[in-house]
Chain length 390, copies 2
């Protein structure tokens, strides 16, 4: 029986050139902007045009470029202190997933105090989940990856504890996200490839997760269709604006899908590996997805068959589902090959002695993702899967 | 190139039994409820349980049952006066599209004054479009039809002027809509059939409309798939809760889709006919859809082929698109036949001498829908189409 709750308060402005409307959007929500930019945007035309635009319509701003991949809680807390000191009343975040997650967490800490780490959801520990509004958040992603422009999630890395955890709170839904594929043109090829795989992982995991429903599956399916039509082209030809556009929409839809359904085993494994090694999120997912599929067959055969047909439209439509499903790992590996993705966990410095720590984290901090998997999974299963990814 | 804005602030709580949460939801938004009920709910278990629930958690309420099909502006204005007098601070509307549209308009007039007719969009005339919030609106539909639980639209009938026009304003988006298919079980067969066709019309017109985009087409497609799987069963067996569930979701998705894309010719013709004759909205759409498709071929051949395949999955998948498209009118007529729908405009009392008035309204008040059609349409075209519907 169909049953779900659906809530998506983010206004999405999607399309090439839409970024020009950023200053006018900001003006709707405040008078002084805490402007979080990905560091690669420092001195860029984009940043200077937006800042000029803000000034022109009478908005103040403070520029913040101190964004790192896998955002650290200490950096975010410093940002929030600056935001308060500068008396900013809204946060604009432009950049990759790290910049946007940084901006979302700053908006929360600026109004609610403490450290951003206090608000992250951690297994078996107390955390803060305020319900009163934080500063309004406006985002514009420059990569098609995390989908954070469409979610109430901000992933934070505590380097001291070697832990990644997420704030998951509806108050950090962006008010408006401008998804402008032209901002994604300058992304280096290897980043476009790994962030694209992150997008696919969101849609794929959402599609098969135990928490999926008719609504989230519709979004995940459309996301995977767009991914299939555009991933290779968007990575290999960064000027292909049609492909970039489809990847950008694929990403937003995937973000929206997984906030409804939850994720499953690839994220439950990839996230702790990323926290332990500081390996990129997309890379630690890419390395484990084919192994997770092998492990999961035949428990999600019908769904895997659908995904295989989407990713390889030349697949004979009359093949039995079991055969289509068995082809899925190789179809995905072929996409990796076409975009130069060859990562293993060894590349990120993971050693066999680290595996038990990954397994422990998978069954503590990432238990919810692990439990969302369509095949029940034991610690021994995860150990074997991770070992195969080395 | 993909370009659209997407904004959907309604929280949808979808599923059998979800109506039990109505009092708790109301409590989030106010302390005294203006409770708009479809008259058929007077003295029902449903109404008494909800009112008991409101009382139990300390909310006041005022009951309002004065809802008519094709809601009149005078009735709504009287409701708003009562709502103000009773000092209600939120509106709950439970019933068919008429009850919900009545509730939405009452919420607006209660805070912004005047007559609801002043806020309706009319061609070439001034109308009010306030941006400050009106009373919060909570809905629960009892038919799968208009999709008004998901839209910022309230259709109002001015019987004096023999005109229908709509308030279209984001401030009347419901805060929460509880879509509980169990509420739809008691709907009489002929109403289930005609409201179901309204749902299909929303999805179908949205799918082919000039204003469609990737996002709205995804919603419309999923809506039509669910419609195809459930329409006949849900009409002919009102206890089939699986079918009712799919129709309910089809309806909500269709409402959401057409607010993004706009509608096209069937609504541009069906609405004036309904205003002139007081014929039911779904019926005036049903009678013209096959004729509109005949007129539109081959201008939307590829889309019609997709719809034909969805509505008749037994259709040979290898048929050329043109042949599939040509079959669409008969496929739709067959669905009508299976659900006992045999309406013509003559049945609603439309006479040949009335056709010029329909045509004039189509090109004035409903011009936006007419312009959204994928084949450009003249007054002569509309005359011919309406004549064939008599």
């Amino acid at each position: 029986m169909i049953s779900f709750n659906m809530y998506f308060p983010v206004e999405i402005m999607f399309g090439a050139g839409k970024i020009e409307q950023m200053p006018a959007i900001c003006k709707k929500f405040g008078s002084k902007v805490f402007a979080v930019f990905d560091p690669f945007l420092k001195g860029s035309d984009l940043a200077s045009q937006i800042l000029k635009g803000l000034k022109k319509i009478g908005l103040g701003y403070y520029e913040f470029y101190d964004v790192v991949p896998n955002p650290r809680h200490t950096v975010i807390d410093q940002g929030a202190a600056l935001c308060v000191k500068q008396k900013c009343d809204l946060v604009m975040a432009i950049g990759g997933g790290s910049a946007i997650d940084t901006g979302k967490a700053i908006a929360l800490v600026s109004t609610h105090g403490g450290s951003c780490w206090d608000y992250t959801v951690r297994h078996g520990e107390k955390f803060l989940k305020p319900e009163t509004p934080c500063l309004p958040i406006i985002t514009a992603p420059t990569t098609a990856g995390t989908g954070t422009e469409a979610t109430h999630i901000s992933v934070i890395n505590n380097a001291e504890l070697k832990l990644k955890a997420a704030i998951i709170n509806p108050i950090i839904y962006p008010k408006v996200s401008i998804v402008d594929p032209e901002l994604m043109i300058s992304v280096p090829k290897h980043i476009a490839a790994l962030t694209g795989i992150d997008t696919f992982a969101h849609a794929f995991e959402s599609f098969i997760a135990n928490g999926a429903n008719e609504w989230s599956r519709m979004l995940a399916l459309k996301s995977m269709q767009l991914f299939s039509e555009s991933f290779v082209a968007s990575v290999n030809d960064s000027t292909n604006i049609t492909a970039k556009s489809k990847m950008a929409l694929s990403c937003t839809l995937a973000g929206y899908a997984f906030t409804q359904s939850g994720l499953c085993l690839p994220h439950a494994i990839g996230q702790p590996v990323s926290a332990l090694t500081d390996g990129p999120h997309g890379g630690t997912l890419a390395a484990c997805i084919p192994q997770v599929i092998e492990f999961t067959l035949p428990h999600a055969e019908a769904d895997f068959a659908v995904v295989a047909q989407i990713l390889d439209p030349r697949l004979n439509i009359n093949l039995p589902a079991s055969q289509k499903a068995q082809k899925l790992p190789d179809i995905i590996k072929s996409l990796y090959k076409q975009t130069g993705v060859t990562v293993t966990y060894k590349d990120y410095g993971l050693r066999e002695v680290d595996i038990p720590t990954v397994v422990d984290l998978c069954f503590s901090n990432y238990l919810q993702d692990a439990k969302g998997h369509p095949r029940a999974v034991t610690k021994e299963d995860v150990f074997r899967i991770v070992k195969r990814c080395l």
